[in-house]
């Protein structure tokens, strides 16, 4: 097999190249073309085996659309997504279904993502029934195994979701995602619905599972500190594009893009007293009819004339650390 060969070159679990996703809105007038929401405008990234990438950004920046595109829950309007070397959009529906074993998702809301009328055993076994050809005994064994690995009791499998708290429900959702032994788990805001003390338990669990099973994470979050804690790499998105991407330690310590700087600056710190800080004015622009130039130009404190004329591309500022800004050179010096 080519496995060893692939590993020798570069072992990427996911590779997304130039992913584009646009939504056409209903026509408002017969005589004008319909408006288009540009949710993703050419997003590229890859995650190597056993590593984790955090995608951060504000609402409407396209981070959840990106998660759905990677999960093949949305058709792409351009570009491609490869998981474990297979191009997802080229697969037949049957082959795609088979492939889904390798990538599973944890959703944001643990209250909405578990069927209230099914017992935990059935919820966790569902991906196995749908995707794997296992006998009943094997299935039960697998369920017991993942339930134990997320720290729930063996007796919990006969309970209904309403008998659990938010943190425990998120553990069930994680167990369900682990059931098919995937190599990639896409987690869309996995802890944002949880209380602080419970959030810490779930974040530790995600870390432990990675150590134990070597799963790869694509984690979507609006909380920068959560991403810094869990992820090796971070990608900052703004209006459908990645504006900065690099090792988490590096990006958080030396942010280069003005948007990343503003975002980090805006996070309230656990230090008493009011701070005078740079505030971004205005709102995130609507992703309909984006301007020609840099999408961040309207809110950028350092905007120049050329920012409104052309769109900057992601360029290396240091090894593995990229930023899409015309002023990159100035920021790093």
């Amino acid at each position: 097999m080519t496995d060893t060969q692939v590993e020798a070159v570069v072992d990427d679990v996911v590779r997304a190249t130039n992913v584009v996703r646009h939504y056409t809105l209903p026509r408002e007038s017969l005589f004008r073309p319909p408006a288009v929401v540009q949710a993703l405008n050419g997003v590229s990234f890859s995650i190597s085996r056993g590593r984790s990438l955090g995608v951060v950004g504000e609402s409407g920046c396209g981070k959840s659309t990106l998660a759905r595109c990677v999960m093949a829950l949305e058709p792409l309007d351009g570009g491609r997504v490869e998981i474990e070397g297979a191009h997802l959009e080229g697969l037949t529906p049957d082959a795609l279904r088979d492939k889904r074993r390798d990538f599973q998702m944890v959703f944001q809301d643990p209250f909405g993502s578990l069927d209230p009328r099914q017992k935990v055993a059935r919820i966790v076994a569902e991906p196995l029934e749908a995707l794997e050809n296992l006998g009943r005994a094997e299935r039960l064994e697998r369920v017991a195994e993942v339930i134990a690995s997320v720290g729930l009791k063996p007796t919990d499998i006969d309970k209904f979701p309403h008998e659990f708290s938010g943190g425990q429900r998120q553990r069930i959702a994680i167990a369900r995602a682990l059931a098919t032994r995937p190599t990639l788990i896409v987690a869309d805001e996995p802890v944002s619905a949880l209380d602080v003390s419970v959030q810490a338990q779930v974040l530790n669990l995600l870390q432990d599972l990675q150590d134990q099973f070597g799963v790869t994470y694509l984690m979507i979050s609006h909380d920068l500190a959560v991403v810094e804690y869990v992820c090796d790499e971070v990608a900052v998105m703004y209006l459908g594009s990645i504006v900065e991407h690099g090792p988490a330690v590096e990006v958080f310590a030396n942010p280069v893009h003005p948007y990343t700087r503003a975002l980090l600056e805006a996070v309230p710190q656990l230090v008493p007293g009011r701070k005078k800080r740079l505030r971004l004015s205005g709102n995130v622009q609507s992703p309909i009819d984006l301007p020609v130039g840099c999408a961040f130009a309207d809110r950028c404190p350092q905007v120049e004339a050329r920012c409104r004329e052309g769109r900057p591309v992601l360029e290396d500022v240091s090894r593995g650390h990229k930023s899409a800004c015309f002023l990159n050179a100035r920021q790093t010096t």
Binding site: E58, G167, D195, A225, V226, V267, Q269, N283
Partner: protein
């Protein structure tokens, strides 16, 4: 006498599982121009406290104790009299700007309503005042916005409209219940700055309720930490964050992922967690509400009401705990270790 004095406030909700003490024996006071932050996790009673102050508890709720505003006992007022206080002398900014504005009425109608009711303004006066308020809270082309409906505004703008409504009658006390939880982080900063500016401008008192320790640390002078309906620690913000006297405050602080900690890349440290779950209000022990999750607790804690101690001689920094010395020495060792 302070502007707002809350003494021994108890809120009991009749639930199918028996009475749940949503707030127990809570006391605090607040003067003009002061800001108090109430912090805690879901179900700790922070929102119930706010609703009790406004007389807006659900029908199965019973309040005892006293809430006095400028010498007047609010709990003794009947509903008609309370209507004169609510939105007028105490007003509130709710968490969810998407659902707390009425989608069927224009912004103008909703902002002018309290002024028409409480201040007897004419429609024209109220409209002029509404334009001034909307401009003050940072809404561009305010005059045109008056005729917009809530769905035509973004989340941040809607929260600004909520703030304008809350300020319209120049209240003595402003309660902000998680005012930025539904907003993006860059917008959150703008709104917190706005609230802080308005408080220092008008001299009103502010109660800011939040689960986010960072928001609390940066916005208020004094903090009240609640757990299971009880106030477990209160004090000036600087002193509280320096000493972290209650085991729960310590646990909460340690469980927050902190930005700039180096995170995974450097050390792969684990977050410290508080074992167990946030308890159901109906199942709380009679003594310290935190006893079953506290690693310092012994048999005595669950059965005995915790005593209140002063912390570090700081004015007004108090902790309700039976083992404050153990908690303190633990903090000292963890600091020495770090």
């Amino acid at each position: 006498m302070a502007l707002l004095e809350v003494k021994n406030l108890d809120v009991t909700l009749a639930t199918s599982r028996g009475p749940a003490r949503a707030v127990r024996n809570l006391s605090f006071d607040l003067d003009r121009g002061q800001t108090l932050g109430i912090v805690g996790e879901s179900g700790c009673g922070k929102s119930m406290t706010a609703l009790a102050l406004l007389g807006l508890l659900p029908e199965n709720g019973v309040t005892t104790g006293s809430i006095s505003l400028g010498g007047q006992d609010l709990l003794a007022l009947d509903e008609d009299a309370m209507c004169g206080v609510r939105g007028n002398r105490i007003s509130m900014i709710f968490q969810e700007p998407m659902t707390s504005l009425n989608p069927l009425h224009t912004i103008g109608r909703q902002v002018t309503e309290p002024m028409l009711i409480h201040q007897g303004m004419t429609r024209d006066e109220a409209r002029a005042e509404a334009v001034r308020l909307l401009e003050r809270v940072g809404i561009a082309s305010a005059r045109q916005r008056l005729d917009n409906y809530p769905h035509q505004l973004s989340g941040g703008q809607r929260q600004r409209v909520m703030i304008a409504m809350a300020l319209s009658c120049k209240p003595d006390v402003l309660i902000a219940d998680e005012p930025t939880t539904a907003l993006d982080v860059t917008i959150q900063g703008q709104i917190l700055d706005l609230i802080a500016d308005l408080v220092s401008e008008s001299g009103m008192a502010l109660i800011l309720i939040s689960h986010d320790l960072g928001v609390i640390a940066e916005t208020v002078d004094r903090v009240l930490v609640m757990y299971g309906g009880a106030g477990v620690e209160t004090g000036p913000t600087a002193s509280l964050f320096q000493h972290l006297a209650h085991p729960y405050t310590q646990g909460l602080f340690a469980a927050v992922p902190k930005l700039g900690s180096g995170g995974k890349g450097k050390s792969r440290t684990r977050l410290s967690t508080i074992p167990g779950l946030v308890p159901e209000l109906a199942d709380l022990p009679p003594g310290c509400t935190f006893a079953d999750r506290c690693d310092l607790a012994d048999d005595k804690c669950a059965g005995t009401m915790p005593t209140v101690h002063d912390v570090a001689n700081d004015a007004g920094h108090r902790v309700a705990c039976l083992k404050p010395d153990d908690a303190k020495s633990r903090m000292a060792t963890s600091e020495a270790g770090a």
